[in-house]
Every structure is written in C-alpha cells, then in structure tokens.
Symmetry: C2
Subunit: 337 residues, 2 copies
C-alpha cells in the first residue's frame, strides 16, 4: 500500500504511479480496444478519433473504472469494455466541446475541428458515443448502462447550462458548481461507480465509489480552472490564460468579480463580455486574482472536495487499489503546487 | 384490414391513416413522454428540443415501433419508451445534421441553429441521445439496446461517409446506397425490429421486420432525394432545389452526371463543386433530370426496395398492423406522384 502524501509536508510528490502500475495490464487491453472500436471503413473516422485519442491524455477516467472493479475482486473482462466506453464518452465530449468553444488547440495540438472541420468533429463524436453504448450493451449490466447513460444526459445538460451562462459575470458560485458537477464530475462519478457495480458489490460500496468520483471530479475541475491562471503550460497541456481569452466564467473569475471594487468589476465586464483580453488585460486579471486570493481560495475549495472524496473511501478495507485511488486525489490537487 | 393500394391503378390514395389510427392511443403516450423527457431545468434544452419536436414531423419511425410491437401481441408499456427513444435519436440526428449541412430551414421553419446557434444544437442533440439511451435502459431489453446502439453508431458512420463524399460527382450509385443505408435505413430498420424483439418474437419475425425497415428506409430516402427535384414543397417541408443549392450528390444527380455528355458534366461540376446554383442552373438541372430519366429511375429504384419491404412481411399472418405497415410503403413512394 502506497504512503499517502501529506501535501503540506511535501515529503513525496503526489503521483498516480501506483494507479498506473496497478492497471497497466488492463490498460493494455483498453488501449487495444480503443484502437479497434475507433476503427471504421470510413477512413475519416479513425483519423479524427485517433488524432485526439493519441494526443497524450492521462486516461485517468478508464483507470478509475479498472481500479474500482479490481478493488471489489472483479475477475471478468467486462471492466475493460466499460473503461473503454468511459474514455470514448470523454473523447466524444472533447470533440463536441472544441466545436462549441471554437477552440484551436487541445493538449498543445491543433484541435480536430481545425484540421477536419466542425462537421467531422460533431459526427465522429456521435460515432464514438454510439460505439461506447455498444460496448456497454455488450457487457450486459443494466445497472452499469443506467449509470453511464444517465451520465451522458447529465454531461450534455451541464454543457448547455455552461453555454447559457456563458460570459455572464453574475453567475454565482452555486451555479458554477452545478455546471462542473454535471459537465465534469458526473463522468468521474460514473467511471468510479461502474467498478463496484460490475463486480457485484453492494449499495454501500457503490455509494462510496460514486461519492469518491463526484468529489474527485469537482476537485479536478477546480484545479483545472485555477491552473488556467497560473499553471505550468507543459503540465497543463493548454496555455495559461486560455479560459480568460475565451471569456469563460470560472470560479477564480467569479470570486474576483464578486470581491472586486466597482472599477475592477468594470475591468472584468470589458474582458469577459466585450472580449478585451490582450496580454496586458491577462496580467491585470492575474494580479487581481492574487490580490483577492481567488486562486488560493479556488484551490481551497478543491481541497475541500478532495477531503470528501477521501472520506468516501475511508470505510473500505485497505487494498492497493484504495491506496492508489487516494493518491489520485493528491495528484489532482498537487498539479497546481 | 386496409385495402392495399395499387399505385398504378390509383384507385385510392396511399395513406398512413390506418397506421395513425392503430397507434393513436400509444402515440398519445409517446407524445407525453417526448415532452417529459425533453424537459430540463436548463431552460434552453426544452426550448431547442421542442422547436424541432413540435415542428410537425410525421413521427413515422415511432409509429413503426409501436405497430411492430403490437403486431406480435406485445401488451406491456416498454414499446412506448422504445418508440420515444427512436424519435429522440432521429431528432438528435436532425439537430446535428443541420449544423453539419449549415441548413437555414427545416420543415419550413428556421432551424434551431439559426435561432440558438450551432453550439446549442450540438449539445441539445447530445442531451436527447443521452435521454434516448436512458429510456432504452429503463425498458431493460439488452437485445433492443444492442439493436438501437448499433444503429446509433451506423447512423453517425453514414453521416461521416456522406461528409467525406460531399460534392464528389464521381460517387458511384453503390457508394450512395452505402450512405443512405447507414444514415437513413439503419434507424427505420432498428425502429421496426425492436417491436418483435420486445414482444419476444422469434428470429424469423425479427428478421422480417428488420428487412422491412431497411428497405422501407431506402425507398423513403430515394423518394426524398427525388422530391427535391420536383416535389410539392408543402408536402415536402422543404423547398425544391434545396439539395441542389447545398451541392448534395444524391442519386438523381449521380444518374444525370454519369449519363450526361461532356458539356453536361462540366455543368454539374460547376454547380456541385463550384457552387453555381442559381435559379437558372436549377432549371437546367431539372431539365437534364427529365432528359436522362433520372427522377423516374430514382423512383424506380425506390419501388424496387418497396417491393422487397413488402415481400419481407409476406410470410406473416394477416393483421391490421401488417396491413398498415404495407400501406406505409405505398405512402412513402406515392409522396412523389
């Protein structure tokens, strides 16, 4: 069992190494299945799909599914299909997100829509979603299907919510949490919960993993939003200030805006609503974030959810998987340190 | 049992009246479920969804599912959910199609993307697809889930195929059939097959309805493509020449191009590839269609598939549902007369 990191003490760098090691063999199967199920006689499909799939995401979500299944003694092969489904759902969301956000770069590479167009990105996303459902059906667990199809609806609902609230600086912190709970945490939650489900674990264990996933997902998104105003672009796979330039109303902005003076609020209106987002504006935004403790408090919120995720797993027996899943919490939060 | 129409004799206008009457009570439930499952606290979702849902489509596909289930004695409530799922899959496809095709009008109304933007259309489509899967899961038939999730993948694959072949006048008739089989016939086929599946009917009955659906779908799409060069825009819900103006390479165009002189082929290149699609060009296109019998032969191909659909149901016992489903074939084809 790995040593749980004490972030404050900083004795050991938080890492997902244990999770990677524990799931390495299963992830080999997932990676094979990804390639095979993204295949099609229609050439454009594997081209577009593999562009994003091979762009070096961490594949954290499928690893959660695999570890959560093994944690409860699952010995079949269905977890590999469910994990691949989870990754396809995530990939489909990214393809559609890049169209919706009109993004040019993702993980430091041109987005699929910049190379093959919005049209191909929408349709290949649809294809991957269809393939995800086929794999789930193939596994045959109606409970897992229920969890993942519900997540698919909720994710889309969250994306629409985000779209409706776009560039609205009056968005409250609560509204922001509703959005990230739907668009990010729902898939983490489903990815984690289908592990015990397929392993035939009971309600308590399912609820534990579901809660772990939800809160890990919230922490993950909060840190992602914080990193955009001060992270290391190599670690992040996107550039500092991307959210700012796209006028996204994330928690750091919400906190800064609500805590700001009238003059500062006018600055935020100009930036977010009127697109005044040059480098000078970004520098001012970042200095306001420091002045109002907006980044520190965003990270604080992330720690709060990280702790809930940790406590969600507390009653479970000590296993290598449990230890690895706890490490993931610290890893997600320490990305920002 | 309804009298089967003899199109050549023209004694009675082909109609889906029997199908509408037979499924009226079930369709009442479907319509309620559509409203309820397109609902969301995120206001934009029901707005966008209902704009398209209430725009007066015939709801042919869900009626197929309902009739096919009743035909085999189904007495439960699951067919309503499956029929609603089928309609949601169709609606999601239309929302995404309008984005991909950059369409301004659908069924004589502004498309959702013209009112709420491409972004909302993509995301609400995703939401409806998620809701469709949730309803299927709720019914609990893994066979029905398999059929419908496979159809979802195939439809997306067909759309990508169409995109890859866009504006390519060298598209062969075979390639065209591959596209419409995937993008249109797959959903008709799945809609029809899940009826006997949920009713617990055997392999032969499932195969009969599957084949009926596939071939009806092919006929339907062929007639749709023919109508674009000479239908009645009120019946059609779109304007004559829309496909031409969008540069779509449908069967009438393929036949005209392949049968044309060098000068005519140059005309088609200018129209389809270089977007020379004004009213004068449309008139020339339509006169070339007449000269080469392209519309007549497109309708001929539709009749061919209509006959296969008819024979697919031939071995089944005479029931009001069977008669109504046979009427649908004539109705689809007679739209053009």
């Amino acid at each position: 069992m790995g040593v749980v990191l004490n972030l404050e003490g900083g004795k050991r760098e938080a890492s997902i190494k244990d999770l990677i090691d524990l799931t390495a063999s299963d992830m080999g199967e997932v990676n094979k299945l990804i390639l095979s199920k993204a295949g099609s006689d229609v050439e454009m499909i594997p081209e577009v799909a593999n562009h994003l799939i091979s762009s070096g995401g961490k594949r954290l979500r499928p690893m959660l599914t695999l570890a959560a299944a093994r944690m409860f003694g699952y010995a079949g092969a269905g977890h590999v299909k469910l994990a691949t489904s989870v990754e396809f759902m995530h990939t489909a969301t990214l393809l559609h997100d890049d169209v919706v956000d009109e993004s040019d770069l993702r993980r430091g590479k041109k987005t699929a829509r910049m190379i093959w167009g919005n049209q191909a990105s929408v349709l290949v996303g649809d294809f991957l979603l269809g393939q995800a459902f086929r794999m789930m059906v193939d596994v045959g667990s109606l409970d897992a299907l229920d969890i993942l199809s519900t997540a698919a609806s909720i994710i889309a609902e969250g994306e629409v919510m985000q779209l409706a609230a776009a560039k609205n600086l009056e968005t409250t912190e609560d509204e922001y949490f509703s959005v990230i709970k739907a668009k990010t945490a729902a898939l983490f939650s489903a990815a984690a919960e289908v592990g015990p489900v397929i392993a035939g674990a009971g309600r308590t264990d399912r609820a534990a993993l579901r809660s772990y996933g939800t809160n890990l997902g919230l922490a993950f998104q909060l840190i992602d939003d914080a990193l955009d105003y001060g992270g290391d672009s190599k670690k992040l796979g996107k550039n500092v200030g991307d959210d700012f330039r796209e006028g996204k109303v994330t928690l750091p902005v919400i906190l800064c805006y609500r805590r700001g003076t009238a003059a500062e609020r006018a600055f935020w209106k100009g930036a977010i609503e009127d697109n005044q987002v040059d480098d000078v504006a970004l520098e001012r935004a970042m200095s306001l974030m420091v002045r109002h403790g907006a980044i520190a408090d965003t990270i604080g919120r992330a720690r709060h959810f990280g702790e809930i995720a940790r406590d969600a797993l507390a009653p479970l027996a000590a296993t290598p998987q449990k230890s690895a899943l706890l490490d993931v919490i610290d890893f997600c939060i320490s990305r920002v340190v």
